[in-house]
Subunit: 239 residues, 2 copies
Protein backbone atom coordinates (compact mmCIF):
# COMPACT_ATOMS: atom_id res chain seq x y z
CA UNK A 1 0.00 0.00 0.00
CA UNK A 2 1.36 3.39 -0.99
CA UNK A 3 1.06 5.93 1.79
CA UNK A 4 0.04 9.40 0.65
CA UNK A 5 1.42 11.73 3.31
CA UNK A 6 -0.17 14.83 1.80
CA UNK A 7 -3.79 13.71 1.97
CA UNK A 8 -6.21 13.89 4.86
CA UNK A 9 -9.14 11.47 4.93
CA UNK A 10 -12.38 12.10 6.78
CA UNK A 11 -15.46 9.93 7.10
CA UNK A 12 -18.66 11.75 8.04
CA UNK A 13 -18.94 15.44 8.81
CA UNK A 14 -19.14 17.25 12.12
CA UNK A 15 -22.43 18.76 10.87
CA UNK A 16 -23.91 15.25 10.82
CA UNK A 17 -23.34 14.94 14.58
CA UNK A 18 -24.85 18.35 15.43
CA UNK A 19 -28.54 17.31 15.27
CA UNK A 20 -27.77 13.89 16.83
CA UNK A 21 -27.02 11.51 13.94
CA UNK A 22 -24.65 9.32 15.93
CA UNK A 23 -24.94 5.96 14.14
CA UNK A 24 -21.69 4.24 13.23
CA UNK A 25 -21.28 4.22 9.45
CA UNK A 26 -17.65 3.32 8.66
CA UNK A 27 -15.59 0.35 9.90
CA UNK A 28 -12.41 1.08 11.86
CA UNK A 29 -10.62 -1.48 9.67
CA UNK A 30 -11.39 0.56 6.53
CA UNK A 31 -10.42 3.75 8.34
CA UNK A 32 -6.99 2.38 9.21
CA UNK A 33 -6.39 1.74 5.50
CA UNK A 34 -6.78 5.50 5.00
CA UNK A 35 -4.40 6.50 7.75
CA UNK A 36 -2.47 5.32 10.80
CA UNK A 37 -2.95 8.49 12.85
CA UNK A 38 -5.95 10.65 13.69
CA UNK A 39 -8.99 11.39 15.80
CA UNK A 40 -12.70 10.61 15.83
CA UNK A 41 -15.67 9.53 17.85
CA UNK A 42 -17.61 6.30 18.35
CA UNK A 43 -21.17 5.30 17.53
CA UNK A 44 -23.58 6.95 19.96
CA UNK A 45 -20.72 9.37 20.75
CA UNK A 46 -19.40 6.71 23.09
CA UNK A 47 -16.04 8.34 23.67
CA UNK A 48 -13.12 10.11 22.07
CA UNK A 49 -11.08 8.23 19.49
CA UNK A 50 -7.32 8.57 19.12
CA UNK A 51 -5.52 6.75 16.30
CA UNK A 52 -1.78 6.30 16.80
CA UNK A 53 0.63 3.96 14.98
CA UNK A 54 -2.27 2.23 13.23
CA UNK A 55 -4.22 1.43 16.39
CA UNK A 56 -7.59 3.01 17.21
CA UNK A 57 -8.06 3.78 20.91
CA UNK A 58 -11.36 4.86 22.40
CA UNK A 59 -11.29 6.98 25.56
CA UNK A 60 -14.63 6.46 27.29
CA UNK A 61 -16.39 8.71 29.80
CA UNK A 62 -15.66 6.28 32.63
CA UNK A 63 -11.97 6.77 31.92
CA UNK A 64 -11.43 3.34 30.41
CA UNK A 65 -9.50 3.16 27.15
CA UNK A 66 -10.38 0.40 24.68
CA UNK A 67 -8.71 -0.70 21.48
CA UNK A 68 -11.38 -0.67 18.79
CA UNK A 69 -11.71 -3.84 16.67
CA UNK A 70 -11.70 -3.56 12.87
CA UNK A 71 -15.44 -4.14 12.54
CA UNK A 72 -16.48 -1.31 14.88
CA UNK A 73 -18.50 1.28 12.99
CA UNK A 74 -17.76 4.95 13.66
CA UNK A 75 -19.79 8.01 12.59
CA UNK A 76 -16.98 10.58 12.31
CA UNK A 77 -13.25 10.20 12.06
CA UNK A 78 -10.29 11.95 10.47
CA UNK A 79 -7.02 10.17 9.70
CA UNK A 80 -3.78 10.54 7.78
CA UNK A 81 -0.49 8.71 7.37
CA UNK A 82 2.04 10.17 9.76
CA UNK A 83 5.15 11.19 7.86
CA UNK A 84 7.97 10.18 10.16
CA UNK A 85 10.53 11.80 7.85
CA UNK A 86 9.28 15.20 8.94
CA UNK A 87 11.49 17.11 11.30
CA UNK A 88 9.65 18.45 14.30
CA UNK A 89 10.50 21.47 16.37
CA UNK A 90 11.58 21.30 19.99
CA UNK A 91 9.16 23.16 22.24
CA UNK A 92 9.61 24.07 25.89
CA UNK A 93 6.89 25.31 28.26
CA UNK A 94 4.35 25.55 25.45
CA UNK A 95 0.79 26.15 26.62
CA UNK A 96 -2.38 25.61 24.61
CA UNK A 97 -2.79 29.38 24.22
CA UNK A 98 0.65 29.63 22.61
CA UNK A 99 -0.13 27.21 19.81
CA UNK A 100 -1.60 29.76 17.36
CA UNK A 101 1.37 32.09 17.72
CA UNK A 102 3.88 29.23 17.59
CA UNK A 103 2.49 27.83 14.36
CA UNK A 104 1.18 30.82 12.42
CA UNK A 105 3.88 33.38 13.21
CA UNK A 106 6.31 31.53 10.96
CA UNK A 107 4.18 30.05 8.19
CA UNK A 108 0.96 30.92 6.39
CA UNK A 109 -1.08 27.78 6.96
CA UNK A 110 -4.48 29.21 7.86
CA UNK A 111 -6.14 28.29 4.55
CA UNK A 112 -5.23 24.61 4.45
CA UNK A 113 -5.66 21.50 6.58
CA UNK A 114 -2.69 20.27 8.58
CA UNK A 115 -1.99 17.75 11.31
CA UNK A 116 -0.58 18.78 14.66
CA UNK A 117 1.40 16.30 16.73
CA UNK A 118 3.11 17.04 20.02
CA UNK A 119 5.01 14.28 21.77
CA UNK A 120 6.86 14.64 25.02
CA UNK A 121 6.53 15.52 28.66
CA UNK A 122 3.36 17.37 29.66
CA UNK A 123 3.28 19.45 32.81
CA UNK A 124 -0.50 19.36 32.73
CA UNK A 125 -3.26 18.02 30.52
CA UNK A 126 -7.01 18.40 30.83
CA UNK A 127 -9.26 16.29 28.61
CA UNK A 128 -12.90 15.40 28.29
CA UNK A 129 -14.82 12.39 27.04
CA UNK A 130 -18.50 12.40 26.18
CA UNK A 131 -20.72 9.59 27.42
CA UNK A 132 -22.32 6.99 25.12
CA UNK A 133 -25.84 7.98 24.10
CA UNK A 134 -28.81 5.81 23.29
CA UNK A 135 -31.76 6.50 21.03
CA UNK A 136 -33.54 8.86 20.88
CA UNK A 137 -30.22 10.68 20.51
CA UNK A 138 -29.84 14.20 21.95
CA UNK A 139 -28.10 16.95 19.98
CA UNK A 140 -24.33 17.35 20.02
CA UNK A 141 -24.43 20.37 22.30
CA UNK A 142 -26.73 18.59 24.77
CA UNK A 143 -24.14 15.80 24.94
CA UNK A 144 -21.28 18.28 25.30
CA UNK A 145 -22.95 19.66 28.41
CA UNK A 146 -22.63 16.25 30.08
CA UNK A 147 -19.06 15.13 29.79
CA UNK A 148 -16.41 13.61 32.00
CA UNK A 149 -13.29 15.69 32.58
CA UNK A 150 -9.87 14.17 33.25
CA UNK A 151 -6.71 15.89 34.43
CA UNK A 152 -3.16 14.66 34.78
CA UNK A 153 0.10 16.29 35.83
CA UNK A 154 3.56 15.26 34.66
CA UNK A 155 2.57 12.76 32.00
CA UNK A 156 4.32 11.50 28.88
CA UNK A 157 2.01 11.43 25.92
CA UNK A 158 0.92 12.57 22.49
CA UNK A 159 -1.33 15.38 21.35
CA UNK A 160 -2.77 14.57 17.94
CA UNK A 161 -5.30 16.38 15.80
CA UNK A 162 -5.91 18.85 13.04
CA UNK A 163 -6.26 22.45 12.03
CA UNK A 164 -9.13 23.08 9.61
CA UNK A 165 -9.60 26.37 7.73
CA UNK A 166 -12.56 28.59 8.61
CA UNK A 167 -14.19 27.86 5.22
CA UNK A 168 -14.67 24.24 6.30
CA UNK A 169 -16.55 24.93 9.54
CA UNK A 170 -19.23 22.25 9.65
CA UNK A 171 -17.41 19.70 7.54
CA UNK A 172 -14.87 19.80 10.39
CA UNK A 173 -14.41 21.96 13.45
CA UNK A 174 -12.72 25.13 12.16
CA UNK A 175 -9.47 25.85 13.95
CA UNK A 176 -7.68 23.28 16.07
CA UNK A 177 -9.34 20.02 17.07
CA UNK A 178 -6.93 18.05 19.24
CA UNK A 179 -7.08 14.83 21.22
CA UNK A 180 -4.60 13.37 23.70
CA UNK A 181 -3.38 9.96 24.74
CA UNK A 182 -0.72 9.37 27.35
CA UNK A 183 2.02 6.84 26.70
CA UNK A 184 0.73 4.17 29.07
CA UNK A 185 -2.78 4.54 27.61
CA UNK A 186 -4.34 5.27 30.97
CA UNK A 187 -5.63 8.78 30.22
CA UNK A 188 -6.79 10.60 27.10
CA UNK A 189 -9.66 12.31 25.36
CA UNK A 190 -10.65 15.54 23.64
CA UNK A 191 -8.04 18.07 24.71
CA UNK A 192 -9.34 21.01 26.73
CA UNK A 193 -6.05 22.41 27.98
CA UNK A 194 -2.41 21.45 28.13
CA UNK A 195 1.06 22.62 28.92
CA UNK A 196 4.10 20.90 27.43
CA UNK A 197 7.21 20.91 29.62
CA UNK A 198 9.41 19.70 26.82
CA UNK A 199 8.42 18.06 23.57
CA UNK A 200 8.48 17.91 19.80
CA UNK A 201 5.86 19.75 17.75
CA UNK A 202 5.34 18.43 14.24
CA UNK A 203 3.14 20.04 11.59
CA UNK A 204 2.10 17.98 8.56
CA UNK A 205 0.37 20.08 5.88
CA UNK A 206 -2.01 18.39 3.44
CA UNK A 207 -2.37 19.19 -0.24
CA UNK A 208 -5.82 17.65 -0.22
CA UNK A 209 -8.63 16.49 2.02
CA UNK A 210 -10.91 13.62 1.04
CA UNK A 211 -14.37 13.87 2.57
CA UNK A 212 -16.23 10.53 2.58
CA UNK A 213 -20.00 10.26 3.10
CA UNK A 214 -22.14 7.39 4.48
CA UNK A 215 -24.20 6.88 1.30
CA UNK A 216 -25.89 3.76 2.68
CA UNK A 217 -27.14 5.48 5.86
CA UNK A 218 -30.73 6.48 5.17
CA UNK A 219 -30.92 8.77 8.20
CA UNK A 220 -27.99 10.86 6.92
CA UNK A 221 -29.14 10.79 3.31
CA UNK A 222 -32.66 11.93 4.15
CA UNK A 223 -31.89 14.43 6.92
CA UNK A 224 -32.83 18.07 6.50
CA UNK A 225 -29.88 19.83 8.12
CA UNK A 226 -30.54 23.24 9.69
CA UNK A 227 -27.26 24.92 8.94
CA UNK A 228 -28.25 28.33 10.26
CA UNK A 229 -27.54 27.35 13.85
CA UNK A 230 -24.68 25.00 13.08
CA UNK A 231 -21.84 27.41 13.67
CA UNK A 232 -22.90 28.35 17.20
CA UNK A 233 -23.73 24.73 18.03
CA UNK A 234 -20.26 23.63 16.93
CA UNK A 235 -18.56 26.41 18.86
CA UNK A 236 -20.54 25.41 21.94
CA UNK A 237 -19.74 21.72 21.56
CA UNK A 238 -16.15 21.70 20.41
CA UNK A 239 -14.60 24.39 22.56
CA UNK B 1 -5.00 3.71 -14.27
CA UNK B 2 -7.92 2.61 -12.13
CA UNK B 3 -10.92 4.87 -12.48
CA UNK B 4 -12.76 5.59 -9.26
CA UNK B 5 -16.30 6.43 -10.33
CA UNK B 6 -17.45 7.31 -6.83
CA UNK B 7 -15.00 10.11 -6.15
CA UNK B 8 -15.17 13.76 -7.14
CA UNK B 9 -11.94 15.74 -7.42
CA UNK B 10 -11.71 19.50 -7.07
CA UNK B 11 -8.72 21.79 -7.33
CA UNK B 12 -9.11 25.18 -5.66
CA UNK B 13 -12.20 26.44 -3.94
CA UNK B 14 -14.87 28.83 -5.15
CA UNK B 15 -14.09 30.97 -2.09
CA UNK B 16 -10.60 31.55 -3.49
CA UNK B 17 -12.10 33.23 -6.57
CA UNK B 18 -14.48 35.49 -4.59
CA UNK B 19 -11.89 38.15 -3.60
CA UNK B 20 -10.15 37.90 -6.99
CA UNK B 21 -7.45 35.23 -6.63
CA UNK B 22 -7.58 34.16 -10.27
CA UNK B 23 -4.06 32.80 -10.86
CA UNK B 24 -3.80 29.40 -12.51
CA UNK B 25 -2.46 26.87 -10.00
CA UNK B 26 -3.07 23.36 -11.42
CA UNK B 27 -2.14 21.96 -14.85
CA UNK B 28 -4.93 20.70 -17.08
CA UNK B 29 -2.84 17.58 -17.72
CA UNK B 30 -2.88 16.69 -14.02
CA UNK B 31 -6.57 17.50 -13.82
CA UNK B 32 -7.39 15.04 -16.60
CA UNK B 33 -5.66 12.28 -14.59
CA UNK B 34 -8.28 12.93 -11.89
CA UNK B 35 -11.28 12.80 -14.21
CA UNK B 36 -12.42 12.85 -17.83
CA UNK B 37 -15.53 14.94 -17.23
CA UNK B 38 -16.23 18.17 -15.39
CA UNK B 39 -16.28 21.94 -15.23
CA UNK B 40 -13.99 24.77 -14.22
CA UNK B 41 -12.59 28.15 -15.09
CA UNK B 42 -9.34 29.46 -16.56
CA UNK B 43 -6.59 31.66 -15.14
CA UNK B 44 -7.79 35.26 -14.93
CA UNK B 45 -11.33 33.83 -15.22
CA UNK B 46 -10.73 33.71 -18.96
CA UNK B 47 -13.78 31.64 -19.77
CA UNK B 48 -15.90 28.66 -18.77
CA UNK B 49 -14.30 25.23 -18.86
CA UNK B 50 -16.13 22.07 -19.89
CA UNK B 51 -14.36 18.71 -19.67
CA UNK B 52 -15.91 15.95 -21.78
CA UNK B 53 -14.40 12.59 -22.81
CA UNK B 54 -11.02 13.59 -21.41
CA UNK B 55 -10.75 16.88 -23.34
CA UNK B 56 -10.82 20.28 -21.64
CA UNK B 57 -12.68 22.93 -23.64
CA UNK B 58 -12.65 26.60 -22.75
CA UNK B 59 -15.61 28.75 -23.79
CA UNK B 60 -14.38 32.34 -23.99
CA UNK B 61 -16.37 35.55 -23.75
CA UNK B 62 -15.89 36.22 -27.48
CA UNK B 63 -17.67 32.96 -28.15
CA UNK B 64 -14.58 31.09 -29.30
CA UNK B 65 -14.02 27.62 -27.86
CA UNK B 66 -10.44 26.43 -27.36
CA UNK B 67 -9.05 23.06 -26.40
CA UNK B 68 -6.77 23.63 -23.41
CA UNK B 69 -3.25 22.14 -23.62
CA UNK B 70 -1.97 19.97 -20.76
CA UNK B 71 0.32 22.67 -19.39
CA UNK B 72 -2.39 25.30 -18.99
CA UNK B 73 -2.79 26.24 -15.33
CA UNK B 74 -6.33 26.64 -13.97
CA UNK B 75 -7.41 28.12 -10.61
CA UNK B 76 -10.62 26.15 -10.03
CA UNK B 77 -11.90 22.95 -11.58
CA UNK B 78 -14.03 19.96 -10.61
CA UNK B 79 -13.78 16.62 -12.40
CA UNK B 80 -14.77 12.98 -12.13
CA UNK B 81 -14.65 9.82 -14.22
CA UNK B 82 -17.92 9.44 -16.08
CA UNK B 83 -19.38 6.02 -15.37
CA UNK B 84 -20.77 4.95 -18.71
CA UNK B 85 -22.30 1.84 -17.15
CA UNK B 86 -24.88 4.01 -15.44
CA UNK B 87 -28.36 3.93 -16.91
CA UNK B 88 -29.77 7.37 -17.50
CA UNK B 89 -33.39 8.40 -17.54
CA UNK B 90 -35.18 9.62 -20.66
CA UNK B 91 -36.46 13.15 -20.19
CA UNK B 92 -38.86 15.08 -22.44
CA UNK B 93 -39.56 18.82 -22.29
CA UNK B 94 -37.47 19.24 -19.16
CA UNK B 95 -36.79 22.86 -18.22
CA UNK B 96 -34.12 24.13 -15.85
CA UNK B 97 -36.78 24.84 -13.20
CA UNK B 98 -37.90 21.21 -13.29
CA UNK B 99 -34.50 19.79 -12.40
CA UNK B 100 -34.89 19.95 -8.60
CA UNK B 101 -38.23 18.17 -8.67
CA UNK B 102 -37.05 15.64 -11.25
CA UNK B 103 -34.02 14.62 -9.22
CA UNK B 104 -35.04 15.02 -5.58
CA UNK B 105 -38.62 13.74 -5.73
CA UNK B 106 -37.35 10.19 -6.19
CA UNK B 107 -34.10 10.05 -4.24
CA UNK B 108 -32.61 11.70 -1.17
CA UNK B 109 -29.41 13.16 -2.58
CA UNK B 110 -29.35 16.63 -1.03
CA UNK B 111 -26.55 15.87 1.44
CA UNK B 112 -24.00 14.48 -1.00
CA UNK B 113 -22.17 15.56 -4.13
CA UNK B 114 -23.34 14.15 -7.45
CA UNK B 115 -22.73 14.78 -11.14
CA UNK B 116 -25.55 15.78 -13.48
CA UNK B 117 -25.28 15.01 -17.19
CA UNK B 118 -27.96 15.69 -19.77
CA UNK B 119 -27.32 14.73 -23.38
CA UNK B 120 -29.76 15.21 -26.22
CA UNK B 121 -31.73 17.74 -28.15
CA UNK B 122 -32.16 21.14 -26.51
CA UNK B 123 -35.06 23.39 -27.51
CA UNK B 124 -33.22 26.33 -25.99
CA UNK B 125 -30.03 27.02 -24.10
CA UNK B 126 -28.75 30.26 -22.61
CA UNK B 127 -25.18 30.41 -21.35
CA UNK B 128 -22.67 32.96 -20.20
CA UNK B 129 -18.92 33.30 -20.29
CA UNK B 130 -16.89 35.71 -18.21
CA UNK B 131 -14.14 37.76 -19.83
CA UNK B 132 -10.44 37.29 -19.06
CA UNK B 133 -9.23 39.65 -16.37
CA UNK B 134 -5.83 41.19 -15.87
CA UNK B 135 -4.15 42.34 -12.68
CA UNK B 136 -5.16 44.03 -10.49
CA UNK B 137 -7.95 41.47 -10.50
CA UNK B 138 -11.50 42.58 -9.62
CA UNK B 139 -13.71 40.48 -7.33
CA UNK B 140 -15.74 37.57 -8.62
CA UNK B 141 -19.01 39.47 -8.45
CA UNK B 142 -17.54 42.46 -10.31
CA UNK B 143 -16.56 40.04 -13.09
CA UNK B 144 -19.98 38.38 -13.05
CA UNK B 145 -21.56 41.74 -13.78
CA UNK B 146 -19.64 41.92 -17.06
CA UNK B 147 -20.26 38.72 -18.97
CA UNK B 148 -21.13 37.66 -22.48
CA UNK B 149 -24.44 35.84 -22.92
CA UNK B 150 -25.06 33.25 -25.63
CA UNK B 151 -28.31 31.71 -26.73
CA UNK B 152 -29.10 28.88 -29.12
CA UNK B 153 -32.28 27.17 -30.20
CA UNK B 154 -32.57 23.57 -31.34
CA UNK B 155 -29.07 22.39 -30.54
CA UNK B 156 -27.63 18.98 -29.75
CA UNK B 157 -25.34 19.07 -26.77
CA UNK B 158 -24.38 18.13 -23.24
CA UNK B 159 -25.14 19.71 -19.90
CA UNK B 160 -22.48 18.75 -17.38
CA UNK B 161 -21.93 19.81 -13.80
CA UNK B 162 -22.51 19.09 -10.15
CA UNK B 163 -24.83 19.36 -7.22
CA UNK B 164 -23.07 20.34 -3.98
CA UNK B 165 -24.71 20.15 -0.54
CA UNK B 166 -25.50 23.38 1.31
CA UNK B 167 -22.82 22.59 3.93
CA UNK B 168 -20.14 23.01 1.26
CA UNK B 169 -21.13 26.50 0.12
CA UNK B 170 -17.84 28.28 -0.46
CA UNK B 171 -15.81 25.18 -1.17
CA UNK B 172 -18.15 24.84 -4.14
CA UNK B 173 -21.32 26.60 -5.24
CA UNK B 174 -24.08 25.02 -3.15
CA UNK B 175 -26.85 23.57 -5.30
CA UNK B 176 -26.45 22.98 -9.04
CA UNK B 177 -23.50 24.36 -10.96
CA UNK B 178 -23.90 23.38 -14.62
CA UNK B 179 -22.04 24.14 -17.82
CA UNK B 180 -23.00 23.37 -21.43
CA UNK B 181 -21.24 22.45 -24.65
CA UNK B 182 -23.02 21.76 -27.90
CA UNK B 183 -21.99 18.78 -29.99
CA UNK B 184 -20.23 20.76 -32.71
CA UNK B 185 -18.36 22.76 -30.05
CA UNK B 186 -19.57 26.08 -31.40
CA UNK B 187 -21.47 27.23 -28.28
CA UNK B 188 -21.17 26.64 -24.57
CA UNK B 189 -20.54 28.17 -21.18
CA UNK B 190 -21.96 28.51 -17.70
CA UNK B 191 -25.59 27.46 -18.03
CA UNK B 192 -28.14 30.15 -17.23
CA UNK B 193 -31.25 28.49 -18.63
CA UNK B 194 -32.20 25.51 -20.75
CA UNK B 195 -35.02 23.41 -22.02
CA UNK B 196 -34.43 19.84 -23.16
CA UNK B 197 -36.73 18.65 -25.96
CA UNK B 198 -35.65 15.05 -25.55
CA UNK B 199 -32.60 13.70 -23.81
CA UNK B 200 -31.01 11.42 -21.25
CA UNK B 201 -30.46 12.61 -17.67
CA UNK B 202 -27.77 10.76 -15.75
CA UNK B 203 -27.00 11.22 -12.06
CA UNK B 204 -23.67 9.96 -10.69
CA UNK B 205 -23.50 10.10 -6.88
CA UNK B 206 -20.09 10.31 -5.18
CA UNK B 207 -19.10 8.57 -1.97
CA UNK B 208 -16.33 11.10 -1.51
CA UNK B 209 -15.02 14.44 -2.64
CA UNK B 210 -11.31 15.23 -2.70
CA UNK B 211 -10.53 18.91 -2.26
CA UNK B 212 -7.05 19.86 -3.47
CA UNK B 213 -5.32 23.12 -2.49
CA UNK B 214 -2.62 25.18 -4.28
CA UNK B 215 0.00 24.87 -1.51
CA UNK B 216 2.69 26.53 -3.63
CA UNK B 217 0.63 29.64 -4.39
CA UNK B 218 1.73 32.26 -1.88
CA UNK B 219 -1.21 34.54 -2.62
CA UNK B 220 -3.68 31.82 -1.66
CA UNK B 221 -1.67 30.61 1.31
CA UNK B 222 -1.34 34.09 2.80
CA UNK B 223 -4.77 35.50 1.98
CA UNK B 224 -7.08 36.60 4.78
CA UNK B 225 -10.47 35.47 3.48
CA UNK B 226 -13.49 37.47 4.59
CA UNK B 227 -16.03 34.67 4.79
CA UNK B 228 -18.83 36.78 6.26
CA UNK B 229 -19.82 38.17 2.86
CA UNK B 230 -18.93 35.07 0.89
CA UNK B 231 -22.37 33.53 0.74
CA UNK B 232 -24.04 36.58 -0.80
CA UNK B 233 -21.11 37.14 -3.16
CA UNK B 234 -21.36 33.56 -4.41
CA UNK B 235 -25.12 33.78 -4.83
CA UNK B 236 -24.66 36.98 -6.82
CA UNK B 237 -21.92 35.54 -9.01
CA UNK B 238 -23.08 32.00 -9.65
CA UNK B 239 -26.80 32.45 -10.22
Amino acid sequence: MTKNFSKLFQHGTLATLVPGLFDGTFPVGDLLKKGDTGIGTAAGLGGEMVVLDGTAYLVKSDGQIDILPADTLVPFATVHFDNSDQVGERVVDLAENDLDEKIFSKRSLQNIFFAVKITGQFKHVKTRAVAAQTRPYPTLSQVADKQAVFEENESQGTVIGYFSPELFQGMASAGFHLHYLNDDHSLGGHLLDFKVSEGILTIQPFASVEQHFPLDNDEFMGHDFELGEMDSQIRHSES
